[in-house]
């Protein structure tokens, strides 16, 4: 078993590492200062400038296939990239990615939605969650009624990331109420691509994180039959595919942040003296550092093993759920400890710890809560679909 990186992996990671150190981290103090003034930390034009610089060097569309102008990197590579980006709390990401399910769109839809999304000239959002349907996505009630060659959409979506800025939405609606009532979601839900100028509205929801998602309202929004993404009645599978797209990437980003926080906390602990000694010499502090580093290492391998299984074309769902669950739980424990090491300073907005503390909390909620991950993991195990011995068998 060889757990080292290939030369390519090291080289690409090194590039991203350098980029983060030279271009992204220098913005950190400005981001904090702006947020203290209740302004947007990383203004869109600054994000665009960074993305353009990266694109000039070919860093664009990390997971986007080459035929669509992306880099078409492996899942392992994407995870390694995400860890590096996560080392800064500046919300930077490379341009050129698009929602995975848009790649299933027909030619016309690809021209209208997929390619402009990759280019960044259009902005998407993904809407399944409703006030009455979160973890239990099958409970959605938003409906689409057929009238001639049109569909009329009615309902409310909530917590939709990017819903305020998006100019089109991938919205999931019930198109077969009978089948839906009987729980046959595999036939009852359809995904529609709906431009904002069709009449849906959005309202920002303030959260403890940086920028709020949105509530969307569909009030007799009419779209042509050609707005269907994929097949009529087959939307639920698309929704699950979107949610499952890269579960390993969320904890990867959090992992990078945790690495950085442990480094910051060690630096702090070496220099902070109480009762005549640096706190780094106290066992209470040392154990926080030791536990955090151990959990980071465990998470690293959960993430990379999940990503590797994706690349191998294996069924990686169990591994991805584990990485997402462990990442959510452990990263929240780690940020709490590292904030603790900083004492009162950790609680201030002079340092990014309280920011990470707020941001990381989301990891335990979206794209499947901790409890839902556990539910899935346990069910797969109990039904005998997977073995507790993991992919090595």
């Amino acid at each position: 078993m060889d757990l080292s990186l290939t030369d390519d992996e090291r080289d690409i990671r090194q590039w991203v590492r350098t980029f983060v150190e030279k271009e992204v981290m220098p913005l950190e103090q400005d981001v904090l200062a702006r947020e203290r003034r209740h302004e947007r930390g990383l203004p869109p034009e600054e994000l665009k400038r960074l993305q353009d610089t990266a694109r000039e060097a070919g860093f664009f569309g990390v997971l986007t296939p080459e035929e669509y102008g992306g880099m078409g990197l492996s899942a392992v590579m994407a995870a390694l990239v995400e860890v590096e980006l996560g080392r800064s709390f500046v919300p930077f990401r490379f341009a050129g990615d698009a929602d995975n399910i848009l790649f299933h769109a027909n030619e016309a839809q690809q021209e209208e939605y997929l390619r402009p999304t990759i280019e960044g000239t259009r902005k998407s959002c993904f809407a399944i969650t409703e006030p009455g349907a979160g973890s239990d996505a099958r409970a959605i009630r938003t409906s689409a009624r057929r009238e001639g060659d049109e569909w009329v959409i009615n309902g409310e979506k909530t917590f939709i990331t990017g819903g305020v800025e998006a100019d089109f939405v991938m919205v999931f609606a019930v198109t077969d109420p009978e089948a839906h009532k009987e729980g046959r979601t595999g036939e009852s839900v359809t995904c529609f691509l709906v431009d904002r100028d069709r009449g849906w509205t959005s309202q920002q929801i303030d959260t403890m994180g940086e920028w709020g998602p949105a509530a969307l309202v569909f009030d007799d929004v009419r779209v042509p039959h050609s707005a269907i993404l994929g097949e009529e009645g087959k939307g639920f599978a698309l929704a699950m595919q979107w949610i499952g797209k890269g579960r390993y990437l969320l904890p990867a980003r959090a992992l990078g942040g945790c690495e950085r926080m442990v480094e910051m906390a060690m630096e702090w602990a070496r220099n902070r003296v109480t009762f005549g000694k640096p706190i780094a010499e106290r066992q209470a502090i040392q154990w926080m550092i030791a536990d955090s580093a151990t959990e980071i290492e465990a998470l690293r391998w959960l993430v990379l093993s999940a990503a590797w299984q994706v690349d191998e074309g294996r069924d990686s769902r169990q591994a991805q759920s584990m990485a997402k669950l462990f990442g959510g739980v452990k990263c929240n424990e780690i940020v709490d400890r590292m904030l603790q090491v900083h004492g009162g300073m950790g609680y201030t907005r002079e340092l990014p710890l309280e920011r990470w503390y707020r941001e990381l909390r989301l990891l335990r909620i979206y794209e499947g809560t901790d409890e839902i991950q556990r539910r899935t993991l346990a069910r797969n195990l109990l039904k005998g679909h997977v073995s507790v011995r993991g992919h090595l068998g």
């Binding site: 390519d8 080289d11 590039w15 610089t53 060097a57 070919g58 880099m71």
Partner: protein
């Protein structure tokens, strides 16, 4: 035009750097190394010249331990065409005089004895002596044109601007020449994704002292004209002085600044 760029592999200036107790040389094991940032400007300038002229090759040359291959790789990723790595255990501990000897011989070998243009950074980020370019020029019998913050290659000549404290000089030399460039001359590019992939296929020659016709006794610690006698950790920064404003804060500040000769 073919250009040789001399680059150095140095300990990352972002990390804690130290010396080895055993022989007072830089501890290169303890920290990660990289292509000296000041040399990136030389690589960039060479690439720009070759690109502008629509032809020629950029060869990156380094003298250093096995890990120094990383510095060559970075330059190849940026777009240089080939690399030369002079690596020999006997070189360990060489001073600037010996390093310039090895570099000069390697330049000769890489160019079949007739270099067209040799570029270097202004100094290394670890030793920061900035004397190697001059020594190499002397050994190669080339005009040395140093600290270029602007560089133009003409017909058989090279012209630079050198910015001093009081004046900017324009200096012209005949080609072939050796030019060292400053960090003002350009903005080094990031290697591109394609460049990273392409770099692996570019040729890198590894030469020993024997390949250059040099003897171990001409280089290394024993042959060095300078030695590091002792080293010590930089003392921690002293506590700053706090000026409390009780009406005359401004005056106190000015007093402090003028005492430190800032005013």
């Amino acid at each position: 035009m073919n250009i040789v760029v001399c680059v150095k592999y140095v300990p990352d200036s972002q990390s804690e750097r130290t010396f080895q107790e055993s022989d007072n040389t830089v501890d290169r094991e303890a920290t990660d190394g990289l292509l000296s940032e000041l040399d990136e400007y030389a690589v960039e300038e060479a690439l720009k010249i070759v690109e502008a002229r629509g032809g020629g090759e950029v060869t990156v040359l380094t003298v250093g331990p096995a890990a120094a291959a990383d510095a060559i790789k970075k330059a190849l990723q940026m777009g240089a065409h080939r690399g030369v790595h002079v690596q020999d255990d006997a070189i360990h501990g060489s001073d600037a005089v010996a390093t310039s000897l090895v570099l000069a011989e390697a330049v000769k070998k890489a160019t079949d004895g007739s270099p067209e243009l040799v570029l270097t950074g202004m100094a290394s980020t670890d030793g920061t002596m900035g004397v190697v370019p001059a020594m190499m020029a002397e050994r190669l019998g080339l005009p040395q044109v140093t600290y270029a913050s602007e560089l133009t290659v003409g017909d058989g000549t090279v012209t630079i601007r050198r910015d001093g404290d009081t004046a900017s000089e324009t200096v012209e030399a005949s080609l072939p020449a050796l030019v060292s460039v400053t960090d003002q001359i350009n903005e080094p590019r990031y290697p591109s994704f394609k460049g990273i992939m392409a770099a692996k296929k570019k040729p890198v020659d590894t030469w020993s002292l024997a390949d250059l016709g040099l003897e171990a006794s001409q280089v290394g610690l024993d042959a060095a004209w300078t030695t590091v006698v002792t080293f010590a950790q930089r003392p921690p920064r002293a506590q700053g002085q706090i000026v409390t404003d009780e009406g005359e804060g401004g005056a106190k500040l000015a007093e402090f600044l003028s005492a430190q000769k800032f005013l």
